[in-house]
Symmetry: D2
Subunit: 497 residues, 4 copies
């Protein structure tokens, strides 16, 4: 393996969302036919910043050349000056925001990726994750392909470069037919914009319009910021090509029943976005109402864990008739991790972002509403914070089922052993976090809130819910090959011993 | 005048609060007797960051030397590394956060300021503003004092340096007896910590305790973050000296009736802080309830302008029985100003931070609750945003009286001519911002919500409310001298012509 | 074409050598078997910094992984901290310094380049230039290779990756048999170090030894700095492989008569280096003596143009019996280009680096000795500077023949139209620069000084001297194809019109 | 004491001169009446960079305001952009370059210093050092003056501010009459430029003219770079005032016999400068000739220690008839200190800058010429380098007498105990550095070379030569008070014990 020392300082950890969450790994944006293509892309990426806070990039095409700027850092800190916008000229552009685990955040893994094909330049931005990338990569390297990154997106590029089909579009389809996993892609060629959503539609992708320009992006909130109209969601398996001839669409993949990610509704998407026509905010309020129905408790006040628990807490309060109060106040200023002073100061970490609002807690029975529990570290601290502020009882209500399985489709999950729900039952979890009671929403309650009135149909679930159920909708080739290799190794070790 | 080109890049405008607000200009923190003095000060300043986002500084004393670090930028980005903490050793420290208008944000105006007196080093951090600083400065310069900054805090330092009293404490008191205006000071000497709150108590200052250490700081939220206990508010006119002999207190100023700033309750203070024993959050909820009582309107939903309008909106919703909904979603990622693309994109500025949540707005009658109106620019954009999202009616309710006068006591206000309420009556303002109705809280309603059941007593008001009433509780010497000079100039011009 | 906005500020132009010179484009260094491999490489590159001032890079191999750091900037500013050295662990390392024309100085063109082959990692650093790189590149891209840089070195890497030979060494030889031009390569594999010098030996490469470690580098001065012993020059066409089995050598190319670059003697190499066993300083002194013999003139003083003309001037002075004086004093502090103030200040540019030393010039007849004339801009300014300091006569003597042809072998030359000697005869050049007389060394004189007592043998010249004679020792495929394409275009244009 | 953590990274140690030298601490430049005042000042400071490499500053006055920029770093890296030049507008400017010992290089000690007096702004740049600064400072602080720096220049400013005289000029003279030591000052007021040279004229200051503008600067080389004419040296004790009324001059101090620093001739001044009408280069050549006469030795070659020993070596070679050769080659690329690899590499430090040129050393008897010996560390390494390159004999000749005393007049000298000549006689020094012979120039030889044909007159020496003779021409009040205090302390300690 090659390690290039990164040139840019590590990005500030200015993520206002809680560390103890699953994290969406990417957001994408593309626009065709706008005189402000790069400015619009920067704004759209800014609206998608919650989908990836650590790196950002834009590639623009001015009819002659492709111009790329990629940075470790946030959009608003790097793509706002006139100089930067002017350095990325053109009427067509794509962009990408990315979250990355520390060791890998070198710039060459940032996107859009660019390649010079015999047919001309090709840039691509990818949201999702392939489950057979390592397998394909080994094969490509043995035939002479040279990889510059560890990104699975580059696998797609080399598959296109070495495809034997003639037209670029055919080569793209040829490449995507070989990959497994989840992907929502936007790519930029000399001719125009190509958008693709994988056959299961795991990750979102929507189409919008602004005057004469077309937009492809991860969420509708990126349309709102530039004043564009929402046209429709890109369909699972759909390949959209936008050129000077307008929009063409095809679906070249074998038909499959769609499985969009249900966690987008629970936490990833912004509350002001719409997914497949449903308001995310409203789904979250309905989740809160389902939660109140499934798991009622006598209490004085409903308090959201800010900000991700707020819509569900409002739904819970309205359904239960209890008052909704801001019992936890967020500090809007966040930054690098502070030095830990002496041991006398407990729970200091969580206080950097949150403080108890004593007035409504002292002597009260509190229902805390959060969207999910991953490791449980934050929940424990917040329960303690409530008690120190005088809460008489603390009842934790979680707006999703227990998260017990890793995601392989473009979401950063801790290894399974670190997921609290993979290690404990609900009662143990309750003791662990120190609450008086703990309840999760049922999987059927979640499906109902998300618009599936009949709940989850086991034979044909309407969503990808693998993180809750372990029911993965694709092959997991790389994982399987790795496990086989390790079991062979241990076999050898065993027979060897 | 001398202009030193600043060395540090302009601070990111990462202020998540709205630009169209009055701004508190400073926060202060001091601690005596803690092995983690600097780490605690950094944490305390982080909790006070909302009182000044553009510069921060800490001075620590290790028994031998004073160590200072001051930066343009935020606490969490500059005072968190082990290296920085180690470079500021000692058991005693003071710190300062500061907001500054652009032209003046040179580092030498940042605090704590430090001077080497004949008696030894002296550092000071100041929240407030003097109204006779220019007058005193001219006199000092004519006697040979050399100023390094344009800060009025340096006037205090030179008054101390040239005082003819013998002990440092007497010199401090001698200096403060000569100044007019508002100040909450913490200062650091070889012997310990000195805290002073001006005789009117305009700006807040509280005393806390953590194990053996004493803390003086602007708000109680800075005690919470380090786990310290609140002891009491420092009294108006009180001088507190903390040394190895413990705490000593005196009040060396002529007695005056206190006039703490009422706008701290409306907007400046954090909702989780307590001012003079009252929960800021609860006062704001009571403000919302008063507002609902004074200015009811038929509507479907109560929507806060986030985040400053949220507690009042909750109070309004609870008092009126209308549902509280997050009709405006905040983007947590903010940064430098984006390039303005072509004119086709309207209201793009406000969309960087806010987006309408259509679901609860479309076809509804909306009550928007905000804390205040300064220039009115944001209000206009948000009303438009509501209408574009489909709102049938938009009723704006403001959680304070019209802001019609400048503040000279340490709050950044636009010149009077730019205050919307100084130019228009309420009906014109309503038309200007495009709302269907607009109503402000009355001054008596505000006093009632802030705990003065009888409302405002004209002879002896319980607060400084000059920004609403124009009733300034101190002389304004510098302003008066400037106005006299200008009227003389125009007299000369007139007679000359 | 793709343009990546570079992340690093443009390197300071701290080149103390004159801008009006040909520039060597690269220096290389490799070491096998030293516990201080990276520290030694950094030192060696520092000694070779004159061969490329704008970028530097090191790749080290620690037995498991390859570690690379590449920067825009100088070695001494970037590879000296313990942190950097520690981030590049291993007993084997290669490094590269590079000069680049402005537009192309993006980091991805910097070296060493690295590729992950099926057989493992491969890093390479290259001094020289291929004359059929574009031709080969087009063919590779059409077969699916994706290029990351515009560097011709990457062509070599893709040729290796797609070679059908089995062993890595065979693939390297297969690749190099396809390229034309000049190259001295050091490359790093999991097994060890490979060094190659092209069949003509245009660019230098020497072998050294330090305790158990072997070194391959561009010049002997890089051996001196680490205290290593010079073993021998690598032979033209030689492939050296250094592994734990020691050194193996082969020469797999068709035999050709060597043509090392004669300009290394004139200017590129450091005066303390030895090339093919000859002291560069001594050759330059002999050049000065030849020059005095060929072009004597009555004068009072011999003055070098510092620092490149100094050894030849000493040689001239000793041969002519005239006194050698420092008539031009160099300012050692150089940096970015200064702002040009008003027109009243003439010749200000050259004065940033040089000042006349009036004492020995006023009223004297001065012989100025410089190594070469490229554009003539500096010569003109220096002659004027001499006259302004009072010189009675100024006689310019140049330590090489007129530079009238571009170099395609890794030397930065202006396009031919900008070479003064391509546009004018010697007499016109003399008038142009304003000297009283001007003389160049003859090509035979240069050969004699460089150890070829019989001068240049036209049939089989001992050096590459194409910049003086236009006699290029290899095919120039890319240039030819480009010229053919342009002549076809003009043919079309003509017939079309 | 107060320690402000510096904001700027430590300046690169890009000093090409040898570390083992005394160092001039400052250079000054001022210009009145030029439309390019700041650009000229930047160029002038660039030419004076050898007098102070670590900090630089310029203050310009545009008729309304004073503009200052001060940096840690070199002129050419910080004062060359159009933006910087434009930020310092005006027809009058002063500038300063400064060398500083590490701990104190905080920006606030950099110059020009600026103060706002009652009469208006005042900026000053100072070359020299006061010997009673601490004494005066204590008195000023006790009367209420607040110091911002540890610079003795600020003492002068406070003396001016608190002077009871009426006009600014009278206050300046009043202040300077109270100080002891060496100073060449340029200062900028609203009216114009004031230049002062102390009554002994220890540090140089010259007057120049360029069209209508007047220049005051440390050396004539700063006039050359902007094409200005040399008018005359400012006289010891002279106060020059340049305003719109032209030049006025006075000498308000008691008359004293001048004592300019002789070490300026030996090493500090640039060889292309003239001091009191004498060419520095020529004086150094005469020094070499005197040295050859006083201390001849049989040898084959004369080799300068570059670059400071070069003119003396040329003089030695011409006087002795021996050949002058560049036996030591300098690397022009210098930067931060490299990591020391393992012990096997000896003398690696000196090799970063120097390499032996073996050709003329191997088997030869070498005369090495250097300007001075301070600690002797470099001499030892260079002698070893000569021997390792094969030198048969190494004879060291030093172009000044033994440096045995500290300088208190603005030159950075090690404490006396570290001066080799303070600890050893010449024979021991010779053994210490490992030479075959060592000889210094006599003090009379130095005086003769510097134009005093009769040598040094003990009663009335023509130069300050305290570093050689210990004969200090002023009181040393601070040193004396410090020594008295310490002797009292040890007295107390003794009696106490």
């Amino acid at each position: 393996m090659a390690i290039e020392t990164t040139l840019t300082p590590a990005p500030l950890g200015t993520n206002p969302f809680d560390d103890d969450h699953l994290r969406e790994e990417c957001g994408v944006f593309g626009i065709y036919g706008s005189p402000d293509a790069t400015a619009h892309t920067a704004l759209g990426l800014h609206a998608l910043q919650h989908r990836g806070q650590e790196a950002a990039g834009i590639t623009a095409f001015d009819g002659e050349e492709f111009h790329t700027k990629r940075v470790l850092g946030q959009v608003a800190d790097n793509f706002t000056s006139q100089g930067v916008i002017d350095s990325l000229p053109g009427h067509t552009a794509i962009g990408h925001v990315r979250y990355s685990t520390t060791g890998e955040t070198v710039l060459r893994n940032c996107q859009p990726l660019f390649a010079e094909f015999a047919s001309g330049g090709f840039a691509v931005a990818h949201n999702g994750n392939l489950t057979n990338a390592m397998h394909l990569r080994r094969s490509l390297v043995s035939r002479g392909s040279i990889f510059q990154s560890t990104s699975d997106t580059e696998v797609i590029i080399h598959l296109i470069a070495t495809s034997h089909f003639r037209t670029l579009l055919d080569r793209v389809v040829d490449a995507l037919r070989q990959v497994e996993g989840a992907y929502s892609l936007v790519s930029l060629t000399r001719e125009g914009l190509i958008g693709v959503r994988d056959p299961l539609g795991v990750r979102p992708l929507v189409l919008g319009k602004l005057d004469g320009a077309y937009i492809l992006c991860s969420e509708t909130c990126a349309l709102d910021i530039i004043g564009a109209d929402y046209v429709r969601d890109v369909e699972p398996g759909e390949v959209i090509v936008i050129t000077e001839n307008g929009i063409e669409s095809q679906n070249p993949f074998p038909e499959q029943s769609p499985r969009p990610c249900v966690f987008e509704h629970v936490y990833f998407a912004r509350p002001d976005s719409f997914l497949d026509g449903q308001s995310v905010y409203e789904v979250r309020k309905r989740i809160g109402a389902e939660l109140a129905k499934e798991n009622p408790v006598e209490a004085d006040v409903v308090v959201p864990v800010p900000d991700s628990g707020t819509p569900a807490a409002i739904g819970y309060a309205q359904a239960s008739g209890l008052p909704f109060e801001l019992g936890i106040i967020r500090n809007h200023y966040v930054g690098r991790t502070f030095i830990e002073p002496s041991d006398q100061i407990r729970h200091f970490g969580v206080k950097l972002k949150h403080n108890a609002n004593r007035w409504h807690l002292d002597g009260r029975r509190v229902i805390l509403v959060d969207d999910s529990i991953v490791r449980g570290t934050t929940s424990m601290k917040i329960v303690t914070m409530m008690r120190e502020a005088g809460a008489r009882e603390v009842h934790m209500r979680i707006a999703s089922p227990p998260t017990a399985h890793s995601c392989f489709y473009g979401v950063d999950t801790p290894e399974r052993a670190k997921l609290l729900a993979a290690k404990m039952d609900v009662e143990s979890m309750c003791q662990h976090i120190g609450a008086d009671s703990l309840a999760f929403l049922s999987i059927n309650g979640l499906y109902r809130a998300a618009g599936q009135g009949d709940g989850r149909k086991t034979a044909k679930p309407a969503f990808c819910d693998a993180c809750f159920t372990g029911d993965y909708p694709t092959f997991l080739t790389d994982l399987q090959e790795q496990e086989e290799k390790q079991s062979q190794l241990s076999l050898i070790a065993n027979t060897g011993g």
